[in-house]
C-alpha cells in the first residue's frame, strides 16, 4: 500500500458526512461489506433491519438520493458520495417532529411486530417523493417488494394514503 493514498468512501447519511477507510481491518469498510452492514454495524444505525439479506424482502430499504434501494444488495464501496436516508433520518432535524408518514403509521397502528416497518416506511417515503398523490394501487405496487408476515398491509395502505392526503 506504500505510496498509494488510503482509499476512503464518503457517505452522507441523514445529513451527516462520514469518511470511512476502506481496507481489511475490522474497523474498516471491507470491499464485501453491504450498505446495510455498514449502516448497522459501523455507524450503529440499527433502525434499518436485515431479514433475508438477499434482496427479497425489502426490510433493509433505505433512500439513496431519495430513491428506495435495498441496502443489503448494495456494496458500501459503491455508494461513495451518495446521500442516504435511513429511518432514523426521517424526523425533522430541527424540530425533531416525526415525519407525517411516521405519524400516520402510529395513528393507524400500521404495524404489528414492527420489524418490517422501517423498510415499509422508507419504501412509502420514496413513493411519496416520486408521486405525492398516489392511488391505493400505486401504494400497493410501490410496497410489493416489502415482506410483512403479521399482515399489517391493510393498515399500512390506509396510513400511506392518509399521509399523502396530508401532503395534499
Amino acid at each position: 500500500m506504500k505510496g498509494t493514498r488510503q482509499k476512503k468512501v464518503r457517505l452522507i447519511v441523514n445529513g451527516n458526512t462520514y469518511e470511512l477507510d476502506v481496507g481489511g481491518r475490522p474497523d474498516q469498510i471491507q470491499p464485501f461489506h453491504t450498505l446495510s452492514h455498514t449502516l448497522r454495524e459501523t455507524l450503529g444505525l440499527t433502525g434499518t433491519k436485515v431479514s433475508c439479506d438477499h434482496g427479497a424482502c425489502g426490510c433493509c430499504t433505505v433512500l439513496m438520493d431519495n430513491q428506495a434501494v435495498l441496502s443489503c444488495m448494495m456494496l458500501t464501496v459503491e455508494c461513495d458520495g451518495r446521500k442516504i436516508t435511513t429511518i432514523e433520518g426521517l424526523k425533522d432535524p430541527k424540530t425533531e417532529d416525526l415525519d407525517p408518514l411516521q405519524q400516520a403509521f402510529i395513528d393507524h397502528t400500521a404495524f404489528q411486530c414492527g420489524f418490517c416497518t422501517p423498510g415499509i416506511i422508507m419504501s412509502a417515503k420514496a413513493l411519496l417523493y416520486e408521486n405525492p398523490f398516489p392511488t391505493e394501487e400505486d401504494v400497493k405496487e410501490a410496497l410489493s417488494g416489502n415482506f410483512c408476515r403479521c399482515i399489517s398491509h391493510y393498515q399500512v395502505v390506509k396510513a400511506v394514503m392518509s399521509a399523502s392526503e396530508e401532503v395534499r
Binding site: 475490522p26 426521517l90 424526523k91 411516521q102 404489528q112 411486530c113 414492527g114 410489493s144 393498515q155
Partner: protein, 763 residues
Amino acid sequence: MANTYRYIGKATPRKDAIDIVTGGSRFLNDLKMPNMLYGKVLRSPHAHALIKRIDKSKAERLEGVEAVLTWEDVPDWRGGTPRSTRILDRKVRYVGDAVALIAATNEEVARRALGLIDVEYEVLPAVFEMEEALKPDAPQLYDKFHGNVVTPGVPFFGPKSLQDVVMGDVEKGFQEADVITEGTFGYENIPNPLPPEAPGAIALWEEPNKVTLWVSNQASYMDKITLFHVMGRKVEVRSIGGPCGGSYGSKFMSWQVQSYATLLSRATGKPVKLIFTKEEHLAAFTMRIASRMTARVGMKRDGTVTAVSGTWLIDTGYYSMTTQSQVAVGCGEVQIAVRCANWDLKPKIVCTNRNASGIVRGFGGQELKCSLIPLLSLAMERLEIDPFQFLKKNFVKPGDGYFWRDGIWYTYRGVDFSKAMEEGAKRFGWEEKWKGWLKPTAVEGTKRRGIGVGVHGNADIGEDASEAYVRLHPDGTAMLFSCVTEHGTGQRTNFVKMVAEVLQLPLDHVSITPSDSLINPYEFGPAGSRGTYAIGGAAIAAAEDAKRKLLELLAPKLQAEPSELDTEEGVVFVKGHPEKKIPWKAMSVDRTITGYGRFEPDYTLSNCMMTFVEVEVDTETGKVTLQRVVNATDVGQVIDPPGLEGQLNGCLGSGGIDSALFEETILDRSSGHILNANMIDYKWRTFSELPPIDNVVFETPIPSHRFHAVGVGEIATSPGPAAVLMAVSNAIGVWLHEYPATPERVLKALGKVRGGDRKGGAA
C-alpha cells in the same frame, strides 16, 4: 351497549409506536455488548449420518476464532419430549443438523472458520416419509423411539395428558349414521411461520453455573424454564426479552440457538451473539407439523356427526419438543369444532430425517382440522348439507363439553357463537353464493368462482398460569411487572390499558417493566390466544390488589372505610363526596404499594373464528386467486380495535390461508434437502395481491375477567386453509384434497395435465 370504559375498546397508540416508526426499537440483533463474539453453526450435509471424526484444528488456528465446539466438547444437554435430542450429537439426523459451533471476533471470521472444519461422516440410510418410517426395517432415528414413534404424553399437562380422542361407542355411532365416508387426508406442506426476524440469542455465561440470555421470544420467561431443564437442571438461567420481530408461535421454543450461544459463551467467557441466517431459519428452525389422517366418519341427515374413527399420523421431523402438546390441544380443539358423542381417533407421532416441526399458530388443531374437514365434506356432499349450517350446528355450545389437554372433561360455559357466525355469513353473502357441493358460485368463460367456510375454536384462552405485580408510587404513577414481550399483538400496551382502567390513571402514568425474568414473576407468555384472558387476568388482579391496599392504607386519613373510597388520577376520594380526597403521595414518599395477581388456568371457555372465502380459479392456467375473506368472531369485549383488526388480518400469513394457496416447504425426499430455503423460492403474499377482508366482531360479554373479554389472535390463521380447498373444489366441480392448491394440482384435478403422485411437501 355503549362502551363506558375510559380505555378498554378504544383505539390508543401503542406504547412502543414511536420506537417502531423511528427505528428506535432494539430487536435482538440490534444489541451489542463489549467484547462480544459472533457465533456460527456448522451444519450437516447429510440427512442421517454418524460423525466418525472431526478435525477442528485448522479452524481453531484461524486468527479471531475463540472457540470451536463439537459433540465431544459439550455437556449432555438435551431437548425434546421426552429428553432425546442432544445439543450436539455424534449422530446427525437431518440436512442442517448442528455439527460444530464457532465463536469468533466477527461474523466473517466465524463464517470462514466453518469451512476449515474437517468432518468425516458415515452416511446412514434416511427416511423422509411417515409410512416408511413406521416399517419394521426402517432406519431408526433414536434408540429410544422404537419404530420412530415418539413417546406420547406431555408431563407438564399432568398424568392424564390427552393422547387421543376416545369416548362413546363408535360402532354404535356408525350404525346410527345415514352416511359413512372414509379416506386419507393430509396437510403436509409444512409451511414455515417465517417471521421477518430470524431466530437468535445472545448469551453471557458466569462461572460456575449462571447464564444471562437476551432472547427474542413471545414468552421470554419460559426460556428460563425450558433451558433450566435442557441444561440438566444445573444452570441458573436469566432470560431478558425485548421486541420480538414476529414469532407466530415458533420462537416460543428457541432452546437450540439459545443453548448454542450459551455453550460458546461458557467456552470463551465472553458474550456471544448467534443469529440464524434466513436460510438457516427456513431449513433449520422449526416449521409446522405435517398431518395425515386416515379415518371414517358417520353422519346423519340433520348434520349430526355420529362417529369419528381413525388414525392421525403426525410427522414431527427429526425431534419433537412440543408435538405431543400440539396433539393434546389439537385433540381438544377438534371436539370444540365438531360435536360428536363417539370418537376413536388415535394419533401417532413419527420421527423422520427432516428438519423438526414445532409451534405455529393453530397449534395442532389447525393441522388436524385441515385433514378432517375434507373428510366431513364428503359426508356433507352425500347428504346435501350446507357446510356453514353444519359448522354452526356442531360448534361447541354452552353446556357441551370436551376433554382438554390434561385429559379432564370440561363443560363449556362461554357464549353461543352462532350469532357472530350468522352475521359473518350475511356479510359474505353465503346464502346467495352457495349453490351446493361441487357447484361453482359463478362461471365466466374459463374462470370459475367457488366458496368455502371453516371454523376453529381453542380453549387455550385460559391455559396455564400467569402472575403479575402492580406497584403504585406516591407520585401517582403505577408500574406493571409482567414478563411479556411485544411480538406484534400490542398486548404489552393492552395490559397497561387494563391496569390504567382499574386504577383510573392516565395511560402515560402506567408503565410496564422490561421482560426480564430476574425482576418479574412467572409468566407463561402470550401463547395461543391466552394473552387477553390469562395474562390480562393476572394484570387486572394485581391492579385490584394494589388498589385495595392503597384504599386500606389511606382510609384512616379520610376517616372512612376502604369500601367507601375510590381512586382516580392519582387521588383517593370518598365516593359521592369527591371533595373529600387526598393524593397518593399521602401514602408517604418513602413507600410503594405492590399488588400481586395470579391467573389460574381455566379450560371452560373457548374462542371462535369462522372464516368464509371466495376464490376464482382460472381453469386454463390452474391459478387460484383469493377474492374475498370474511372472518367472524365474538371476543366478548374488544380491548384495542386496531390491534384486533391486525390480528384478524393475519389470517393470510404465517402459515394460514396462504398455506392452502401457494405456501409450502419443498423437501427433496431423496436427499433430505429443503429446496426453497430462501425468500424468493418460498412464496409469500405481496401488497399487490391483497384480497378484501371483512372482520365481523361481536361483543357479547363473556364470563372471563372484569372486562368480559377473551383473546382470539392466534386462531385467525386456522379456519382458512380448509375453507380454501372447499372453495376450490366447489369452483372446479371436483374434489381437490391436497394443500396447497397450486396450478399444477388444479390442472391435474381437472384432468388437464397428468403427473405422478406428488405428496404434499414433496419435490
